[in-house]
Symmetry: D2
């Protein structure tokens, strides 16, 4: 194998840029010619693929988002378009792919591998931290720190005004962001898919503290639970105080990557290049209990994302 | 006059804490005994008023919100409660008040002055920058910088994903926040009460740039216009691209005060103490074209907040 | 006049990028062809000058430094090299210049105007805020907020450990940064060129507070006074506590521009283009008491930078 | 065991406050009476020990430093003073201690345990990340992100001005901070105690890139190597460009704790209380490869801090 093309796909996440940069540099160090695919699967189909040098990625380590841009592409489900993508790669002499993205993107690349035998390595990147088989997905730490700054900021006004605040964070089926940020920001309530909640118990707990003189309460809610507005009204009624909902939205996706995301990006990029050099065909780089490893896309697809036992345990008290 | 009580009232704003701190210190320097009123008008009625020393405010200059807390109080409209407040002040020997807040709070204190001849000085503080007769209200610069960080952050993801973003910022009748942040973040559209807009012209302008290859568009909308959701759909339809709405909400009120808000807080606090020492009874400290002055509450009430001509002119191109 | 070239020169400052962006856009709006000069005076001599479109500056408003880079050039003192620069401009049809920088750069451009009649407009930009005739220089607000974050951060550790801290900030002959940040961060001592100090009085003032139980003291020193190390030892001896010096250094020059610097950059850029269109030949855009105006470079050179009376007065108590 | 006193000791680090908060709350949850020791070992000797409620620690999770303050105390080496400390604990009925600090503090508490049989649990906290037997010490992630912001900020000016920058970060015998931040900020050189360096090779590597047109170089140096000034001159001479040294200093210790430090603080605090409840007498909570465990202070003292193999490997290229 002499060449590798690097692409980002799916929802963007901080840490993609440092991963791109390190993948380019480490490829060169290992004797591979690096290429960059712009616009994700769309760019693969349309041939938006260019040879890369270290200059192209020299000044991106501190930038949020992805300079390669991303996209969702229905055309890639269609064999004809995949074939077109393959022909672009062949014409350029690109022999392998590194894709930074989510499990949907990995599945697309697996099909591509089955069709045309172009091996790939996957780097899990999503702020939801919900890709099975890995404890960490690129972008999570940055998203959490963006949330923290917002929640700390809201605390200022909540305390000044004796108000309750509900903060809705991203997370469709996975409550990782909600739980970690509730813990980090010392929220009084956390509503997440993995946490059974008992509003009666919560109400009793907080009313006691309200009577004891506490003036500020906060809740963090995973958007996937759909509980934001309901909980806001419930807090207003139950605690008899002004309650407000803030939906953090897309702010959570951006921001300069934190050190953790930059260091993990380095490690993921090295693991991905090494995976291809080791002859893996469709492996995802995973990080578990401080150790690096690989899983096939089939193993990933047949697993379920799991929250750490410690996090679940630390958050128990917030949902009852 | 030998004593002054300092209070915050109305919606909270960054800069209140430095203003409290400086008012305490400068009062002492001028031979006055300072007091702190907790919980705004409510605390005035309930006698939550305490003698202050520099120790009480030693470590607050960098904190958002207000350590004195704020409140809205309907009871204060009632003479009996105002009398009760007056009796608390008399008992403690408090002879004057400094109120950091908005024009509603100033009007309440004016009635209090008419009733009981307790003079006050007002420090305009609101992130909306909509108090008449002054170019600057405490808290505006911090709010703008919080908005800037969010919009810069959203830009990361917008550019990565070829998306349009609409960001709704605070501002009921005043578009200052929307216009200044649209300018500072280089938004493509700004919708504010003071700016007549022409969606057809905007559509034509942006479609040209879309055709020329631009991938990211952003709009800043003042919440008072109620245009957030409509504009988001409009951008989606008109530019034929994915468009998302983010409502920044209460995040805008918090955060550690910027240098500008801290320096202005110092200047406002000095002006307020000087106003009382000069014998003014119901004056608001105002800042216009770099000069400090005073206006009576009647002058403030009979005026309308005006945006600077430069800001209006710089934003003209964003609404058509 | 049909064309204008924009350049940055001298020490870099936040706000240069937004000024470049706005100068390009406003030039086009006014019917001028904009050019960009890279590498300052050096680039002018070497002909590193390129026609600009809005695309070139589309994504720079939030970046620190200057995408045009800057330099110091001794060659520009030499007529032959200035002539070479002129020939480059002539060849490209560039008829005027906007230079964003300090008074040294303005003087260089004035000589260039005398030689070849190429008019220019100057935008004062330096974090020292020491250019005469204007209350504000681009970059100052961002530098102050970077300093604030560092000093707030040092406070955390100072209070935890009962320590005195001396923080040295930039400022050769001008104490603006030191005074404004001392005020904003509630320092106990400020040493700046404009402030006569009395160490005996300071010692007496702080020893009293030390006896009363205060555990943390901080001083801000302008580097031009050369007092950093001496004051650190003095605090250690006089207050009998551990004292440390932190020199902030080049961190102060960088960082994403604040809203104030971005808005001022817009206004300065408009003023500069308007100056050239109005037929001014060698004018500097100035901002005084909220009003925009122009001064010739001779007026600027024959004036002295002055600190505002309010700032001086608010800082009096910090040097005695 | 019915009661536990919590204290901080040694150099302060972000994350101490969340650890204090969580230790108080989790103690109560487990049926213990919590106490707080102010001023570290000094406060233990002087009896500055107070019963704690959740109110005392309600608003500290986001603050840098330690509300309990810290100190270094030579008196604690003296049996008489340790006895005095013991009598204070006995009088209050305090039966165990949690100390958040470094190995020096742990050793002091071990002697205290040998003397008076007061068991303790240690939480490793230091920004140097140099306590043996644990992969992570509280405060490291926050320090790294503070460094990152400074280095990113310096990059702005370095690139604008074609300059080389040397940034000196904390770390006496341990290069963790230097290496992780060099990696995260994409420095060109890293000088750390654990990395043998070859200046000739570095010079050759960078001169090539200089010739190829690169304008900015940066180096991160661990202060313990004493190489800051030398390397700055060396870069200036070798690369023939302006080079500057910035020593980050105490800024690195402060700042609001990151999410990682807050979550780790929660986990460490739970582990410490659990250690005491399990009957451990002198154990340190450690975190290795994602797993929590305990080591006796003797095991810690007889081990050496080790850098992760991955970090060492990723940084190899930066010192030659």
């Amino acid at each position: 194998m002499k060449s590798v093309a690097i692409m980002t796909s799916g929802g963007d996440a901080a840490g993609m840029n440092p991963a791109i940069k390190c993948a380019v540099e480490y490829s060169i160090q290992k004797g591979l010619r690096p290429y960059l695919v712009y616009d994700g699967l769309k760019g693969l189909i349309d041939g938006n693929i260019h040879a890369a040098s270290v200059i192209d990625t020299a000044d991106i380590i501190h930038r949020g988002g992805t300079i390669l841009r991303s996209s969702r592409s229905k055309r890639f489900f269609d064999y004809e378009y995949r074939k077109q993508a393959y022909e672009h790669l062949q014409r350029l002499g690109v022999e392998s792919l590194i894709v930074i993205g989510g499990d949907g993107s990995f599945a697309a690349l697996q099909q591509f591998y089955k069709d045309f035998k172009v091996p790939f390595a996957g780097i899990p990147a999503t702020i939801d931290n919900d890709i099975p088989c890995t404890d960490y997905c690129l972008g999570v730490d940055t998203a959490l720190n963006v949330i923290r700054q917002s929640v700390d900021s809201i605390r200022d006004t909540g305390q000044s005004f004796s108000r309750a605040f509900v903060i809705e964070v991203m997370g469709r089926d996975c409550g990782y962001l909600a739980m970690a940020s509730a813990l980090a920001c010392s929220a009084d309530i956390c509503i997440a898919p993995e946490l059974p909640y008992d509003l009666d118990a919560i109400g009793e707990r907080l009313r006691k503290r309200r009577v004891a003189g506490e003036r500020y309460f906060s809740a963090v809610v995973a958007e996937g639970t759909g509980m934001g507005e309901y909980l806001t009204r419930w807090m207003s009624d139950t605690l008899n105080m002004d309650a407000r909902l803030t939906t953090l939205g897309h702010v959570q996706r951006g921001g300069s990557p934190t050190v953790r995301d930059r260091v993990m990006a380095n490690e993921f990029a090295v693991a991905a290049v090494d995976s291809l050099l080791a002859g893996h065909k469709d492996h995802i780089c995973v990080y578990n209990y401080g150790n690096w490893g690989y899983k096939t896309i089939d193993e990933v697809k047949s697993s379920k994302a799991k929250l750490g036992a410690n996090l679940l345990s630390l958050c128990q008290g917030l949902s009852k």
